[in-house]
Symmetry: D2
Subunit: 383 residues, 4 copies
């Protein structure tokens, strides 16, 4: 039985033959992977929409995974190409299949799907996947429980309303137990990840008010994807900053959903994202009012208690995106504001890792009963 779940691709010209040397044990045939959950056996993974940054990032991170083996990569417009034609840096990765069309994937040879397709497209694809496949969806399609809210913010009726009901929102540290039992996980957006991790515990504990939460967020440019757009050109984007999507960013209802769950009541936030000249990284500066009598020390104690056993969430002064680049970590800090009764909570992640593909693998590890941090303990690339 072939390892690849895609038809065979052609060999890239002028390249040295791929090596047998690997860090992962690929000796065992993939045929037995249906019994996944036992970490000694392989899980056969398909990445749908692999020609974008989140798809690439799943492949990059899985290159160090001992159990998950990428056996299919889809990219409809790039079908037939070697993956290294689309992402030349991965010419050094071993055993990566070439790209195929999604319709050509043999689903019975697939145990797990990372779905990196655009929103709207995703609903239909995920809905039609065989039930034996576990799915982490990186699109926005299943993040909003309220399908009417989806329709309002994403401009179209939801096409998988029934499936939506069983999907689990996979902000791992906050919904771990539900994720473990899920078949389909909606992977959170990058901004919502960076904001909910610090704010949800504080709201649940009643330490901060839900009125007048103001979030000034800054994202690296990779968050805008790989499509060629003029405003994302190097010469246009380097050496400057600008706000965008002011009051209209689609991550806003997702953040509000999470904060409302924590508060048990409606929440309206102020959220202003900025695009800045860095490839990776996201910083959310959250300006909040504390409940009467509460101090910054209370906030810090709460977060330390909440996250002290978590592998990926740390408290650190002062919190720079430099310190999470390429890693799955979230660094949080809390400061007393000059205005009495106010606090400033600063949270940083790598938008492509903890904000997307890293957290997706974190969730998929849980779906297959593996240690959550498998393949995710790379330290940040600094400098």
């Amino acid at each position: 039985m072939q390892v690849s779940s895609c038809p065979s691709g052609r060999q890239a010209p002028f390249t040295v033959a791929r090596r047998a040397l690997q860090c992962r044990a690929v000796a065992a045939p993939a045929a037995t992977a249906a019994t996944a959950g036992k970490s000694t056996e392989q899980v056969r993974v398909a990445v749908l929409g692999a020609s974008g940054y989140t798809g690439e990032e799943v492949v990059r991170l899985l290159s160090l995974h001992p159990t998950f083996k990428v056996t299919a990569l889809t990219g409809d417009r790039q079908a037939g190409k070697e993956f290294s034609e689309v992402f030349p840096h991965l010419i050094t990765a071993t055993d990566v299949p070439s790209l195929c069309k999604i319709d050509d994937v043999k689903w019975d040879g697939v145990d797990a799907v990372f779905c990196c397709l655009p929103h709207a497209t995703t609903q239909v694809v995920v809905k039609d996947l065989p039930q034996h496949i576990k799915v982490v969806d990186l699109s926005a399609d299943f993040r909003l429980r309220d399908v009417n809210s989806y329709a309002e913010w994403y401009g179209g009726e939801h096409k998988a309303v029934e499936l939506q009901k069983e999907v689990v929102y996979g902000l791992t540290e906050l919904h771990r137990e539900a994720v473990k039992k899920a078949r389909v996980v909606a992977n959170p957006g990058c901004y919502p990840t960076s904001v909910q991790l610090p704010l949800v515990p504080l709201i649940e504990a009643g330490l901060i008010l839900t009125e007048d939460i103001i979030i000034d967020a800054k994202s690296g440019i990779s968050g805008a994807g790989r499509s060629a757009k003029q405003n994302l050109l190097y010469s246009e984007a380097t050496e400057g900053i600008n706000a965008y999507g002011v009051t209209k960013h689609r991550h806003m209802p997702e953040i509000e959903q999470g904060l409302e769950d924590a508060a048990g009541k409606p929440v309206r936030i102020s959220f202003t994202p900025h695009l800045m000249p860095m490839t990776r990284g996201m910083e959310s500066s959250c300006y909040v009012k504390m409940a009467p009598g509460i101090t910054v020390a209370d906030l810090r104690t709460c977060l330390e208690a909440k996250y002290k056993d978590e592998p990926f969430v740390h408290l650190l002064a002062p919190g720079s995106t430099h310190h999470v680049r390429g890693s799955n970590y979230n660094l949080i800090n809390v400061f007393e504001d000059r205005i009495p009764g106010r606090a400033i909570v600063i949270s940083v992640i790598d938008n492509l890792v903890k904000g997307a593909s890293g957290q997706a693998i974190q969730n998929m590890n849980l779906l297959f009963g593996l240690p959550e941090e498998t393949a995710l303990l790379q330290q940040a690339l600094f400098p």
Copy 2:
């Protein structure tokens, strides 16, 4: 009489002889410059502390000035060097004197001083300058009217308390008439410039409340100066962002002073600056509450009325620091927030130009009765 007010410097080796070609008319002898104010005659300018970025920027911008002629550049540790040894890009500038010690300047050959010295040092130097010299001070030393506030934030007693009383705070668009009559102008800080230009008119008009003003600001790295510090190294600063000086930045009392003047009562703000990977540029995102019944349209109308005849302040959607790089412009925009009753005001400047040396020249132009925009109409360098 010699043109230079500094002792003659040595010639840099291996360089082509300086050219006679110039855009400015340097025909008239500088001897008559004491009658400055008549734009056909030269004003002899000394730049004190010229080895830093704000000093350099004054020299760069004055290379296109028809009246101001740089005749002395001081830099105590670099004295004796050609200016182009310190700033190689200015080897192409004509007639720039070499650096000398401040004690070696012949003050009777100087009509105007741009003081770019560090704070604390500045007070004593400016206090001792001859009275015939007009001064724009780019340090923080004379910005705070309250010398006790100065002592608190800058860590030392003020040493020129009498002079402080006559100094005019030179946020040109807001204090133009006072600047025209001044002898010594305290040039505003970069953050205070970017914040006060949009907020002061709104507060004066009673359109926004002074409670809960939250300012999330982002600065280019040149704002941290030219001293070699590890955190400013390219490898440490590129491709990432971090907050710094949270609630403790020295520009905070300067901003509050301006807003208090506008409000006629004490104001406490939340101010969080971020250091980000760009050389020049500053963006202040200001989150404010509107007065009851006031809308964003009212805010916009107020600002348009205030600034419609100003050469350097424009309303523009959405406001990117890319669009002011190297120029003296301030671009402002106003957005309705998602939280009812709130507005978002975004203001961008080049921290070294409108935030420092450009505004200093704007003020000096006024001190000498010249058109305010002289030498300052260079468009932004984009891309």
Copy 3:
């Protein structure tokens, strides 16, 4: 008579009314501009293909020009838009017309054309312009005297063979007298400018051999233009370097043409351009063999003699692109190589200024009898 040579455009919404304040004297009616050459009267300028970087750069630089007045901007796909919609930073420029279609330009109201159209298109457009108009063409269409060479490198027959014969190649410092008498000037490419300025005098003087000239060049990304391409995205282009177009770059025959003219015999060069993460700037490192008995001191003496009276060419150690950013200067240095008999010549320019729009204005100044450096003496923007 109206000043604009384009039909009137609509006003951008929400922007402050344009100011009357200007550094240039626009008092005189443009009607008399046909008598150009007298610098006190206006020259009416059309920029064709103004939505790209070279077009923008012409407009930016002309904002400080006392004689040239932009009265038409064309951009067929953007016709009808305010220029500041296409280049928001120029919302601060006064009196810039909106974009129109090239077919809508009223040519009798135009004295001078900067042609910034793509190659191939350009030939036909320039050929059909009325004879009273002076033209500086920034495309590659008229740079190669040999139309067969053009056909080979640019993939199509030349469509203006007769016009080609009268066009003057405008590397200003080397062909100044011919430019003065021309009607149509072919503005040199950026790489050819950076290479010919140092090498042509050395070859003409017989100081270096024409065999084994090896040029390793590095360009800022703006040189690739403003079209949205994946490899030019910030996230793809930042923080890395790569060679491109190895042995196949179209500037190669242009460089060889210039060196052959200097040598009086055929020349084959090695030329490898690199794309690197900076917006502006170009560095050409030229590795050359010296003629027997010649030393690096001879090379330096030759270049100093050649360029000592030039406003824009300087010898400087060591030569960084940082020092020419945004300016029209060319900095050159010469080093002795470790291999005996060899020298290293390093030349830096801003690819958009001396490598394109700045030199175009330099040439246009000559065409109208103006001082060559008019509007071009801005110093480099550093830092």
Copy 4:
């Protein structure tokens, strides 16, 4: 018995307690590590000079190593600090000891030393290490076999002349067998690694001439180290390129030594490094003459044969430093030049990984009989 070989450091304030979760099995006591070479047991590692970039990079990469355990980190001026005070991003790393003075290291608890000290200092330190310790030295001190050459290029007599004789130069792919038997390995410089990997096999095979080898190299700024210097400041280094150390760079004799070994005769090269605005990455463009009758296809065949079984050396078109960022790979390509008989060889590495710390670990793996690629198969971080 304590795991750390350094005295205990204080705990950083306000940080969550370190986690037990680890990817590496640290269960076994380090006490048995003297029997290193058995990969199931730990090797206790000291990193000397750990406060610089190469030291940090060793620590970062070893966080994924199953056998090597960092038990001592020295930094004389930072002694007593938590490592995460010096490198905040490594607050997320588990079990990293705090910094101590080199004199406080207990050498009998150390099996392996990565020496990241400055040159000159290194000789004395390494000479005095106990003989049971295996050493990879990342400084330049033992790279030049000829101690006179060392004295000439590094400005001082060599102080460990005897030790020099037994040290093995560790360009792994070229000297693997010697490395395996060594006790002290001199880890190659970054430029010499990038140049020798492609050129040595071509010279050994007689395919290229050793005359007129011209190397134009470009390095990321991290190569200049972590000391605060003005020319390395973000604002000075971003958005520009410059050559430096022309004909005088200390890596030149190291490159010549390697090429001379391959050629069996003296070799003089032309070598010009450039500093460019990227943190990591190095590109060497090598311009070479082929032997009579040899073609580019011959060069390519030679390199493919040489490296086809190597895990870290790949042939790839065209070769961008983006594609090796953060990884231990070397990508090489070969192009036919326009000048007949010439070829262009382009080689890219990450200067801090294959050019320093990654190759050091590769060598240390060999010294302890481990698979060479252990902990080094992270793919490049792109985008």
